[in-house]
Symmetry: C2
Subunit: 376 residues, 2 copies
C-alpha cells in the first residue's frame, strides 16, 4: 500500500494507496473533529484547499451523533460528502484529555462523557467497532496517553499494556472486516509507538509492534508539553526501528518548523489542530512568520494576509476586512482565516514534496526555517 | 434608472439600473449587516446564491470599523469584494432599536453606542455623510422609527419632521456628490414614507415626499409588530400615491407569503433578516413550509432539506448531517443553513419574476401560498 519513491538522507518521498484514493507523502491531515472543519469549512472547501486526507475523532463522533448513526448515513464519507481518504484516531487521546472520572483497567477505560456525563466504557474492541462504523480508511490502535512526565516504571507498564491492547485491536479489526457488510473492509489499522521520553522503552515498544506487520505506524505521546528538542530526540531514537516500507505518522505535530524537522528525520504523515485553532484567534501563518490579525496596524491594510499565498482568502480579501470581521465577531472571519492557515500547511507539504522530487529538500528546509525566523 | 417592463394587475416587473449593475425587479436584498452575511457567507457565496443586491447597515458600520475606515478601503465594494449593487439603510432604525440613552431633537438624535456606550449624534447630514463614505449605490433617507402604536398626534408630528429631515438629506446628498473625490457620485437617495397605521398621515406624507422627485421610495415603519393585514392595508393606502416610474421598497419585509402579497400590491424591493436569522436557529424554508432541523426525526434522514431546491447545501448535504452539525455547534451548520434559506428567498423572487414574464403571477401566488399552507 506504501511505495517509497525516493529518499534524501532520511527524508522520504512516497505514495500511499488507500480505499479512497492515493496520497502523495509527506502530507498533513486536516482535522474535522466532529465531521466538519472548525470555522465552517465543508468537504468542497477542503478539496479546493489542497487537503489530501481528512482526520476525524472517534471519541467525539461516538458521543455525537453516535457511530451507529454515522454508519447508517454511509460512514463518514457518506455523512460529510468527503470522498477522499479519512483517518480516525482511536479515541484514546480524548478519553484521557477531555473526559472525566476516568478509571483504567486491563480491559479498557471507564469514563464520563464531557457532553452530558454519561458513563461510557471503551477498550480496544470498542474502539475498533466504532472506527468500523465510521468507515475510515485508516484506523488507529487504542492506546493509553500517559501524562508527561511519568515515571519509567509507569511508562513501561503502560507501554506493555498498549502492546497487549494492540494485539486485541488487530484481532477485533480482522473479525469486523470479515463481515460482508462491513464499512471497514478496506480499512487499515496503524500501530502506535509509546514509551514517553525513555529511549529504551520507546525502542523495545517499537520493535514489538513492528513485529505485527501492520500497514503503518505512528509515534504517539508527543506534542504534549515536551520541548521540540525532546520530540526530535524521540524520533531519532525510534525511527531506525520503524519499517521502511510502511508510512510513519507523527501524531499531533506540529508547527511548520516541527514538520520540516520531522520530515528530515523520516516522518511521512502529520496532523495538528494548530492551523485551525490559531486561525480562530486571528493568528495567521505567513511566509514571514505568524501575524496577529487583531493588531490595530492592519485596520487600513489593503494587502492580503500573505502576498505569496494563493488561497481563496488571499486572492479575494484584505487584512483590513479580515480584522474588521474578527473584531465584529463575524463567522466569515473564522472561515476565511481557517482556510488560509490550512492552505498554508497544505502548500508547505506540497513544497516539501516538490523539493524532495528535485533532490533539494535539505536546502528547502534550511531556507524555509530561516525565512520563518524559526518563529513558527 | 427604473424601467417598468410590464404589469399584471398591480404587480410590476421591472429593471433597475444602479452604478454597479442592473437589477431585475422584484428582488430581495441579502442582509450583510456589518459587511458580511451572518453565518460565514462571502461575496462569492452571495453571487452563487442568486443574490442581486446586498444590504448593509449604516449604524453598525459607523460604529465598527467606522465609515472613515470603510471609505479608505474603497467603500463597501472595496472592503467586501461584492461588486454588485449595495443599499445602505440610514441608521435610523438601529438608532431607535439598538442604541441606548436616545434623545431626539429637530437637529437629529443623540444616542449611546450599543458596543461601548460612546455618545454619538446622528442627523440627516451625518447619515448622508456616512452613507457617502460607505459608497453604496442606494442611500436611504434618515427617518424616525416610531413605536407602534403611537398616538395620531405624535405620528403626525414625527412624519412632518421626517419630511423636513428628508429635505436636509437631499441637500446634503447633493452637496456630497459634488465633491470630485466622492464615493457616492453614482449614489441614489430614496425617500421613506412614514405615518404609522394612520391612513391620512401616510397619504399626506407620501404625496409630500413624492413631490421631491427622488429616484425611489420606500414604505417604512412596518414589520414592527403590526399584523400582516394591517401591513397590507398600509400598502393598499399608500401605493396609489407612489410614482409608477420609481422602484418601491417595502422595508424589513418579510415572510414569503408577505412578499407575494406585497408584490401583488405593486412593491418591487424587499429586505429581511428572517432567512438568515431563522437559519441560525435551524428553521429552514422549504416548498412545504418551515422545518426545524433540531427535530430528532431528521437524525437519520439522508434526504436534502428540500428535494425541490438546487442550492449548494441541498445538492451536497443531508438533513442528518445538518442536524448533527447543528447539535454539535459546528459553524458549518450555520453556513450551510443560511445559504439554503437565502437561496430559497432569491429563488422565490426569480420565480415571481418568471411568472410575471409569463403573465401568470396571480396563479403562481395562489399556488405558492397554498403550497406553503400559508404557514410562512
Amino acid at each position: 500500500m506504501f511505495e517509497l519513491i525516493k529518499t534524501e538522507n532520511r527524508a522520504r518521498r512516497g505514495r500511499f494507496t488507500t480505499a479512497h484514493g492515493t496520497v502523495e507523502t509527506p502530507f498533513f491531515m486536516n482535522v474535522a473533529t466532529a465531521g466538519a472543519i472548525k470555522g465552517g469549512l465543508s468537504a468542497r472547501d477542503l478539496k479546493e484547499n489542497g487537503c489530501q486526507v481528512m482526520l476525524s475523532n472517534t471519541y467525539h463522533l461516538h458521543l455525537r451523533p453516535g457511530d451507529g448513526t454515522v454508519r447508517a448515513l454511509g460512514g463518514l464519507h457518506g455523512m460529510t460528502g468527503w470522498d477522499g481518504p479519512i483517518l480516525t484516531d482511536s479515541g484514546g487521546f480524548q478519553v484521557f484529555s477531555l473526559s472525566k472520572l476516568r478509571r483504567i483497567e486491563e480491559r479498557g477505560v471507564h469514563f464520563a462523557s464531557h457532553i452530558d456525563g454519561a458513563r461510557i466504557f471503551m477498550g480496544p474492541e470498542e474502539s475498533m467497532q466504532i472506527q468500523a462504523n465510521l468507515g475510515s480508511d485508516i484506523a488507529m490502535a487504542f492506546d493509553e496517553c500517559i501524562e508527561n512526565p511519568s515515571t519509567a516504571d509507569y511508562v513501561a507498564k503502560s507501554a506493555a499494556r498498549t502492546v497487549r491492547w494492540l494485539e486485541r485491536c488487530v484481532a477485533e479489526h480482522e473479525r469486523l472486516r470479515a463481515n460482508p457488510d462491513a464499512l471497514n473492509s478496506g480499512q487499515m489499522l496503524f500501530g502506535i509507538n509509546q514509551g514517553g521520553i525513555y529511549d529504551a522503552i520507546r525502542i523495545e515498544n517499537m520493535q514489538q509492534i513492528a513485529g505485527l506487520g501492520l500497514p503503518g505506524y505512528a509515534i504517539g505521546g508527543l506534542a504534549v508539553g515536551e520541548s521540540s528538542e525532546e520530540m526530535y530526540h524521540v524520533i531519532d531514537v525510534v525511527e531506525p526501528h520503524m519499517p521502511t516500507d510502511r508510512p510513519r505518522y507523527l501524531m499531533g505535530v506540529g508547527t511548520p518548523v516541527n514538520i520540516l524537522e520531522a520530515v528530515s528525520r523520516g516522518i511521512d504523515m502529520f496532523d495538528c489542530v494548530m492551523p485551525s485553532r490559531n486561525a480562530r484567534h486571528g493568528h495567521l501563518f505567513t511566509s514571514e512568520g505568524i501575524i496577529n490579525m487583531n493588531n490595530r496596524k492592519y485596520a487600513l491594510d489593503t494587502g492580503p494576509i500573505d502576498a505569496n499565498c494563493g488561497c481563496e482568502t488571499c486572492r479575494n480579501f484584505s487584512r483590513a476586512y479580515l480584522r474588521h470581521l474578527l473584531k465584529a465577531g463575524e463567522m466569515l472571519a473564522f472561515r476565511l482565516m481557517v482556510m488560509h492557515n490550512l492552505h498554508f500547511y497544505n502548500k508547505l507539504m506540497a513544497d516539501i514534496r516538490q523539493s524532495l522530487d528535485e533532490d533539494r529538500f535539505e536546502q528547502f528546509k534550511t531556507q524555509t526555517c530561516d525565512m520563518y525566523g524559526r518563529r513558527i
